[in-house]
């Protein structure tokens, strides 16, 4: 049972981080936002959505923590119903969380574009209204998955029947933790696909974007003028799933090594040896890290051989 729940958590983590990345691409949050912000100053008036709530980590921590708090309050009210109350509590919490997120992103767009007055960047109302719903829906999916992960982890002992498997942190604190992490991963991996590739699609492929290109974002779509909604469709091909993979793998291996350690330490039985369990978990983790370094080196070597040195100017 423990392993089954662990796989559910990893699956939810995959979905959560994928939607987190796509949501941040729809609003051009976090790092690529610097380009969207710079573009009007270079004379590149655009129709992107400028969602500068804060770094992704914090903005996801906000919506997930609010979701977790609301879910916790509902669970407290429905304590007599038992674990079934989560079916109501988690979606309602996530809905409130994504509502707050939507409100926060609406103020961002107008705030940043109004601050671009001297560069003649207008506020396009269709851009403002048209993006809010996609932002809210993508955010809802990410937040509901994170809240569900936090709920499962804080009640794992009851759900799986293995005493002591639950995480001791309360639900909102777990939501804060996973919200911060999902945002940090979403911004550090997913943004590369958007910032390097999608925002500069008219620049040469296969090279770093030079400083002189900064601000000269690609403003036209296949047909007409590009908005941020077009970005999500592109990044859903590679950037989003890869980001989801990163978070899914982290959650999977984090829980996996702990659970393996617990099993080897004699799960909740008379022979329960906490030091052995912890030590096994640490050992497995170090092995995974070493494998990762080797894999990273291999893929770097492959890229160096395959792509070769920089050609061109």
């Amino acid at each position: 049972m423990l392993f089954a729940w662990m796989l559910i958590i990893a699956f939810l983590a995959f979905i959560a981080c994928m939607f987190e990345d796509l949501e941040s691409d729809i609003g051009s949050q976090s790092n690529p936002n610097s380009q969207i912000q710079l573009a009007p100053e270079m004379g590149y008036i655009h129709r992107y959505f400028n969602k500068a709530i804060s770094g992704e980590g914090l903005s996801y921590a906000l919506s997930c923590t609010i979701s977790g708090t609301i879910a916790m309050l509902i669970l407290l009210q429905l304590e007599s119903v038992g674990p079934k109350a989560a079916i109501l509590a988690i979606p309602v919490g996530a809905a409130v969380g994504s509502l707050v997120h939507m409100v926060r992103s609406s103020v961002c767009h107008v705030g940043r574009e109004a601050a671009h007055k001297r560069f003649e960047q207008p506020i396009y109302l269709d851009v403002l209204y048209g993006h809010l719903l996609p932002i809210a829906t993508h955010n809802f999916l990410a937040v509901i998955c994170i809240t569900a992960i936090a709920y499962i982890q804080s009640n794992l002992g009851i759900l799986s029947g293995v005493a002591g498997a639950s995480n001791p942190f309360p639900l909102p604190l777990l939501c804060l933790i996973w919200g911060l992490t999902v945002g940090a991963i979403g911004s550090s991996t997913g943004d590369i696909h958007y910032g390097t590739e999608r925002a500069f699609q008219d620049k040469p492929f296969g090279e770093g974007r030079r400083v002189v290109y900064h601000g000269q974002i690609c403003r036209y779509a296949d047909c007409g003028v590009r908005t941020s909604k077009d970005v999500a469709a592109f990044c859903a091909k590679f950037g989003g799933p890869a980001t989801g993979l990163a978070f899914g793998l982290i959650v999977l291996f984090e829980n996996w090594r702990t659970v393996i350690g617990m099993t080897l330490g004699g799960v909740a039985g008379p022979g329960w040896n906490p030091s052995l369990a912890a030590a096994w978990g640490i050992g497995i983790g170090i092995v995974i890290a070493v494998v990762l370094v080797i894999l990273a080196r291999a893929i770097e070597k492959w890229a160096r051989n395959k792509y070769g040195p920089f050609v061109g100017e």
């Binding site: 790092n31 992490t181 940090a184 943004d191 296969g206 030590a279 990762l292 990273a296």
Partner: protein
């Protein structure tokens, strides 16, 4: 009692110093890295380090609850360290996957001509007028070490605060206070870096690490003293493990 207080103070200082060191070891490229204009992970150090540290904190809290009383400090802190290390490792690995397969970019360092670990030459792979791109092996190893040290620091503060032989705060108090101390140290260190850094091989690392650690020492001593005052009141103790 006095021993426990001193130990908590010392552990908070060590934790703070380690988290500051961790931020200096991170290969962070900030916003330019998302445009492949700088080497490193494409986000700010504070966000990345906090994300890594709380992942470690999560594992540390699970492992600390293995023991009914008196958790083993070193083992719990190591679990946290490995948690952060894995988080950093997967993030950098998938980041590299996107650099290589999504944008066709070879990871290479912009600050050094030769990778100090693999001895690969970097200059000819670098796009002109950028500051490097991707996460090369030296930065990768540096990031793994940074994750380890940051996770160890964060989890160490957590475990001494939660352990019933030391501060004996409640789980949630210990978690959020550990986060607070960690964040204060990480942000001071991030200001010291001032933007981007590639890892231990970056010349910036050698130039700035001493200042960073001094500042972190002062901030951690103050944080530790404040927490010890909170402990001395005796009202927070007696939390449930």
């Amino acid at each position: 009692m006095i021993e426990a207080l001193l130990l908590v103070l010392v552990c908070i200082i060590i934790g703070g110093l380690l988290s500051s060191l961790a931020v200096h070891l991170m290969p962070v490229g900030g916003a330019p890295a998302a445009m492949s204009t700088a080497t490193g992970i494409a986000t700010g150090c504070v966000m990345l380090m906090t994300g890594a540290a709380v992942t470690g904190l999560f594992t540390a809290s699970t492992v600390a609850s293995f023991w009914v009383t008196k958790p083993n400090v070193i083992l719990v802190a190591l679990s946290g360290a490995v948690g952060s290390m894995l988080m950093m490792g997967f993030t950098m690995f998938v980041g590299n996957l996107i650099y290589i397969f999504g944008a066709g970019i070879v990871p290479c360092s912009g600050r050094v001509a030769v990778d100090p670990i693999t001895k690969d030459s970097q200059t000819e792979y670098k796009t002109p007028r950028t500051d490097g791109h991707g996460v090369p092996t030296a930065s990768f190893v540096s990031g793994i070490l940074g994750g380890f040290s940051g996770g160890f620091g964060g989890a160490l503060i957590y475990v001494v605060l939660v352990s019933d032989s030391y501060a004996h705060f409640s789980v949630a108090t210990a978690g959020i206070v550990a986060m607070g101390i960690f964040i204060a140290n990480a942000i001071i260190a991030a200001y010291n870096i001032g933007g981007t850094i590639e890892g231990f091989h970056d010349p910036k690392f050698k130039a700035r690490i001493r200042t960073g650690l001094t500042c972190s020492l002062i901030v951690s001593v103050l944080c530790g003293v404040i927490i010890v005052i909170a402990m001395l009141t005796g009202t927070l103790a007696g939390g449930v493990m």
